[in-house]
């Protein structure tokens, strides 16, 4: 609270602080109510319902929305997550290596893939690599390309998370392991990494949520009606019927997955807080 001259002389404070607080709060409620009312009155509800919740259009989206689009989104995301997890762990260990070359390589890798937009990585994978290495093909066609491209982007973030987790394991744990005759590698594998993984489960789950959304970038590689995913599927149908209802459905499908994951993250974080 300022006590400068411009704040006015003391006798002006006729309202008690608590009273002033109550008035301020009422004003905030009033502003919120006014905003809601304004939007509700100025919107054309009939057009809104037709454009965003047209049942006839919605019917056209099923069952492909689930059997193809959602399924592919899940496949793209999980395969990229596995690639990112393994690569991320390897890069994190390289980043903490005692060999300078590994450290340098890991640092460059992280900085590059964290600094590039995922879209650019996808474009390079989709159009750059096939030109540079003619005849090169990823296994499982589209699925393989996506797993590697999205996995690389994810691995850079995950590497930093793993590194933080490994460094959060107290030094005494390694010392105790070494004092029992374990080699550096054995101490890492049996003692440090298992504890680091527990620490990084919440941030890694967050990364999974981000990946679900990033998997929508697959469209730049060009997808068929069989390899399409949620965003592309919703977008195509929306264009076809000139109606946004499929996009709403696609959005809802994302939320069906990401909201529970977000809940899990909050639970895990609360649990770790308590354990401390």
């Amino acid at each position: 609270m300022s006590h400068g001259q411009e704040a006015g002389p003391a006798p002006r404070a006729r309202l008690s602080p608590r009273k002033r607080q109550r008035i301020a709060r009422s004003a905030q409620y009033a502003i919120f109510a006014a905003a809601v009312l304004f939007i509700a009155l100025s919107a054309d509800w009939k057009a809104v319902v037709e454009n965003f919740a047209d049942l006839e259009v919605a019917k056209q989206a099923f069952p492909e929305l689930i059997t193809i689009a959602l399924k592919n989104t899940v496949i793209y995301t999980l395969s990229a997550y596995v690639v990112g997890f393994v690569l991320g762990l390897v890069v994190a260990l390289a980043r903490l290596s005692s060999i300078a070359v590994y450290r340098g390589f890991a640092l460059a890798y992280i900085e590059v893939f964290r600094g590039l937009p995922a879209l650019v990585v996808f474009l390079i994978f989709g159009f750059g690599l096939p030109v540079a290495f003619p005849g090169m093909k990823f296994p499982f066609d589209q699925y393989g390309t996506v797993a590697v491209a999205l996995g690389l982007v994810a691995s850079a973030y995950m590497a930093e998370t793993f590194r933080a987790g490994i460094q959060a394991v107290p030094r005494g744990q390694t010392e105790a392991a070494r004092s029992l005759g374990m080699s550096h590698t054995r101490a890492m594998v049996s003692i440090v990494i298992p504890q680091a993984l527990r620490i990084v489960i919440p941030p890694l789950t967050n990364e999974l949520i981000l990946l679900f959304k990033d998997s929508s970038l697959v469209f730049v590689l060009g997808v068929t009606s069989l390899t399409t995913e949620l965003s592309k599927f919703g977008g195509d149908l929306a264009t076809e019927y000139a109606d946004s209802t499929p996009l709403v459905l696609a959005g809802a499908a994302y939320l069906v997955i990401t909201l529970p994951l977000g809940y899990v993250v909050r639970r895990l974080e609360a649990k770790q807080q308590k354990a401390r």
Binding site: A176, S179, L180, I191
Partner: protein
Amino acid sequence: MSAVQILGLHKSFGDLEVLRGIDATVESGEVVCVIGPSGSGKSTLLRCVNLLEQPNSGRIVVNGVEITDPDCDINAARRRVGMVFQQFNLFQHLTVLDNLTIAQRKVLKRDKADAERTAMENLEKVGVADKARAYPATLSGGQQQRVAIARALSMGPEVMLFDEPTSALDPELVGEVLGVMRTLATEGMTMLVVTHEMQFAREVADKVLFMDGGVVVEQGPPSRVIAAPQHERTKTFLARVLDPINRSE
């Protein structure tokens, strides 16, 4: 043959010279207590004996094997030297039993039944066998430190190092840990103990080393070093430790 022989040991951290030429021996079956003010290099000395710190110069010989020899297998050397830490350092993600068996199985390649038998014997010995299935975080500090002692013993060490094993404990839990250490001593375990517990040093130690400023100022039986110190620095330190309220200056 001495169990541990330390010859002309020097250790620096950057510009800070922590150990400035230490000579000491621990005979087989002997209990040696290292005392001295904080920052005197006691813990560093202990950590050099199982190479958690790499000495800059000097030699350390454990039961005839020179562990400071560059060709020496560090992991093999450490297996023969058990270490107990101030902060216990139990593996938080493993049960008490797994804390005791993991190194036996991965390092000594003992089979599961064998490792568990050894583990249970040692937990029995330190009086926490009933906690075998518990996780370390659920134990009291005294219990954790006793588990840590049992973990080190399970590797069958020739020498046990204790780095201020009771300094992180609530006062009422100190006794149970010192009790275990005293039992070990009477069983003939060779022990090198950094401690502030003067009564333990007086009653259990065969030899006391007083360190200050990175050198051993005085050493001998506790009846001499603690009860009748010769050096001024030893006298000042003991006066402060034994009567902290009146000699706090």
